[in-house]
């Protein structure tokens, strides 16, 4: 018989215990009563809608900003602004997201320029979008910049000699070649946004039907002792993330195939 290595002995049971089992625990606790009550709760559907809409805009903004970052990466990598932006991309990895939320609250959660109320942008859907963006953008920027890194610079050089300014070369050569990375960056940013809780609750608040997202809905239901509803909403979240993961995988497969046939 093949000798089983220590790594296999360690990995398999721990993987089941620490990763699969908790997910199954959610699915195992789904009850019909919980499902009926959750799906009949208009606040739940508001949370679903809020989650999808804000995550969509946060991901969109993340991708746009990431494209700006990649532009600096390609055309001005020596500048101070690029170096700061590059450094800042890694910061949120170690930063507790409550801190990010508090930072946003202090920056935008006040009456600015006279047009926002006393709490500024805080506790609005826009605040939710900005909180999601704050934590998703570095992910999108990393994804898109690492793909930009692989683009043959000579293509850009040739485009320049054929009359392109840097923005034109970016639009005509770089962005088309980043196509897949832009898509992955969007899906990753969207996923990261959906999963965000701390920054969202600090800056966007947790107003049911208003700024409540699925992550905060689950939290509220647990606090209220409505565990069966929290479980249903959680299962719903798991379903969405599974779909997103499948989406990314499929895209990766299609990409591999098109590379091969090209």
């Amino acid at each position: 018989m093949r000798k089983v290595s220590t790594w296999e002995v360690l990995f398999v049971p721990l993987f089941f215990l620490l990763i699969l089992y908790p997910i199954l625990a959610i699915l195992g606790n789904i009850t019909l009563e919980g499902m009926v009550r959750t799906f009949n709760d208009p606040i739940f559907w508001d949370a679903v809608k809020n989650t999808l809409v804000t995550a969509f805009f946060a991901a969109l903004l993340s991708v746009l900003m990431a494209l700006g970052f990649a532009y600096f990466y390609i055309f001005h990598p020596g500048t101070i602004i690029y170096r700061i932006a590059d450094f800042m991309n890694d910061l949120p990895i170690a930063l507790p997201h409550t801190v990010a939320g508090l930072a946003l609250l202090l920056a935008f959660g006040r009456n600015m320029f006279g047009f926002a109320g006393p709490t500024g942008l805080a506790f609005t859907l826009l605040a939710v979008v900005l909180a999601m963006f704050f934590v998703s953008y570095p992910l999108a920027a990393r994804t898109i910049a690492s793909s930009a890194e692989e683009i043959d610079r000579e293509m850009i050089s040739v485009a320049r000699t054929l009359g392109d300014s840097p923005p034109q070369a970016y639009r005509r050569v770089v962005i088309p070649l980043l196509g897949e990375a832009i898509f992955s960056g969007f899906v990753l940013g969207f996923s990261r946004s959906i999963s965000e809780f701390a920054a969202v609750i600090m800056f966007g608040g947790n107003v049911p039907g208003m700024t409540q997202v699925l992550a905060s809905y689950v939290f509220t239901k647990v606090e209220e002792g409505e565990v069966s509803m929290a479980v249903t909403a959680s299962a719903f979240c798991i379903l969405i993330s599974l779909l997103l993961v499948l989406f990314l995988r499929l895209e990766g497969k299609l990409h591999a195939r098109s590379e091969k046939s090209a």
Binding site: D152, M155, S157, V158, A159, R160, L162, G163, D164
Partner: protein
């Protein structure tokens, strides 16, 4: 006339170009020969404007272009790996400069015809053989009606047997243009086939030289001395 005067370039403490001067006349195909890492590509990138020299001047047609951007220099450039646009068809590669008001439908037609690319127009660069990649890269540069042409080992990926066919074709086309052409290669035989004049890059400077044989005996000696 394509002219470089006293170009210097360092990367960090590595002084690559130490006062490069050269002159290429219209109708001349000057072949530049030099060991790996001697700075040939660096020189070409400075001539295109993609890289800035630390010191020195570049002029085209008697006009100082040292501080002009690459898009304003009206040069044709074929880089070491052809740099074809992967996401575009052969047709759109060759037509690329037309959107920027460079070249014309006519120069496009002519380039396609000269390089015999008619039946490949809808192909993608990744589907082409090395020889045809080089042809498309040259056609793309030609179609932009350049004032001078810079080629950096444009057929290094082509089989020797095919080179024998491609080189006379390239030579004929390049001579017809009657513009300055600077052509980089490693291959002594290729140099002799394509060039009308020869120069060699070593120790950070460029020297004119009578024949490719002479150039190669010099760099062979240099390679031996450096123990490679």
């Amino acid at each position: 006339m394509l002219e470089a005067k006293n170009l210097h370039k360092s990367f960090g403490s590595h002084h690559v170009l130490k006062g490069v001067s050269l002159e290429v006349k219209p109708g001349e195909i000057q072949v530049l020969i030099g060991l790996n890492g001697s700075g040939k590509t660096t020189l070409q990138r400075i001539l295109t404007g993609i890289l800035e020299p630390d010191e020195g001047k570049v002029s085209i047609g008697g006009k100082d272009v040292t501080s002009s951007l690459p898009e304003d220099r009206l040069l044709g450039y074929v880089p070491q790996n052809t740099g074809l646009f992967r996401h575009l068809t052969v047709r759109d590669n060759i037509l690329y400069s037309l959107k920027n008001g460079r070249g014309s439908e006519e120069s496009f037609r002519e380039a396609v015809e000269l390089l015999d690319l008619e039946s490949y127009l809808d192909w993608r660069p990744t589907q082409l053989s090395g020889g045809y990649k080089s042809r498309v890269a040259l056609a793309r540069a030609l179609a932009s009606s350049p004032r001078a042409m810079l080629l950096d080992e444009p057929i290094s990926e082509v089989d020797r047997a095919k080179k024998e066919y491609v080189l006379p074709l390239f030579r004929q086309i390049l001579l017809q243009l009657h513009i300055p052409v600077l052509y980089i290669t490693h291959d002594p035989w290729e140099a002799g086939e394509i060039g009308t004049s020869y120069s060699i890059m070593r120790n950070g400077v460029v020297e004119g030289i009578a024949s490719p044989e002479e150039a190669f005996s010099v760099i062979r000696q240099q390679a031996r001395d450096s123990g490679e």
